[in-house]
Symmetry: C2
Subunit: 72 residues, 2 copies
C-alpha cells in the first residue's frame, strides 16, 4: 500500500457471520478521507476481500477473539 486511500473503500458490508472463514482482518481508522472505521477481511482459501460492519455484534466478537489469541 502506498499511503492512505483517498475515499472509503467499503460500499457494503457482509451480513452473515463468516468469522471462521477469515484469514486476516484489516482495520482502517476513520480519517480525513473516510469518516467511518472500515474493516476489510480477507477470506481463507479464496483470498476474497469482504467489508465488515464495525458495529455488528458478531464482528466485534470476531475481533475480540482474535485479540484474545484463542485458536479456532
Amino acid at each position: 500500500s502506498l499511503g492512505p486511500e483517498l475515499h472509503c473503500r467499503c460500499i457494503s458490508t457482509e451480513r452473515k457471520p463468516i468469522g471462521r472463514h477469515i484469514e486476516k482482518v484489516e482495520l482502517i481508522p476513520a480519517n480525513s478521507h473516510c469518516e467511518e472505521t472500515e474493516i476489510i477481511a480477507t477470506l481463507k482459501k479464496t483470498g476474497q476481500e469482504v467489508c465488515l460492519d464495525p458495529e455488528a455484534p458478531w464482528v466485534k466478537k470476531v475481533i475480540e477473539k482474535i485479540m484474545s489469541n484463542r485458536r479456532r
Copy 2:
C-alpha cells in the same frame, strides 16, 4: 497477498504507545503457521510496518478505539 504466510511475521513488537501514528492495522489470527495472533500496524507518513503486542494494554485500547469509530 497470495494466501497465508508460512511462518510468523513478527520478530519483535513495539513497546512505545504509537497509537496516534497508526494509519491502519492488520490482525492475523493464530493459524497453523503461527501459533500467536499477530498485529501489524502501518504508520502514517512513513508507511513503515511495525508489529504490536496483542497482550499490551495500550494496543488493546487502540483496537477498541478504532472499533468504536471515534475519530482521533
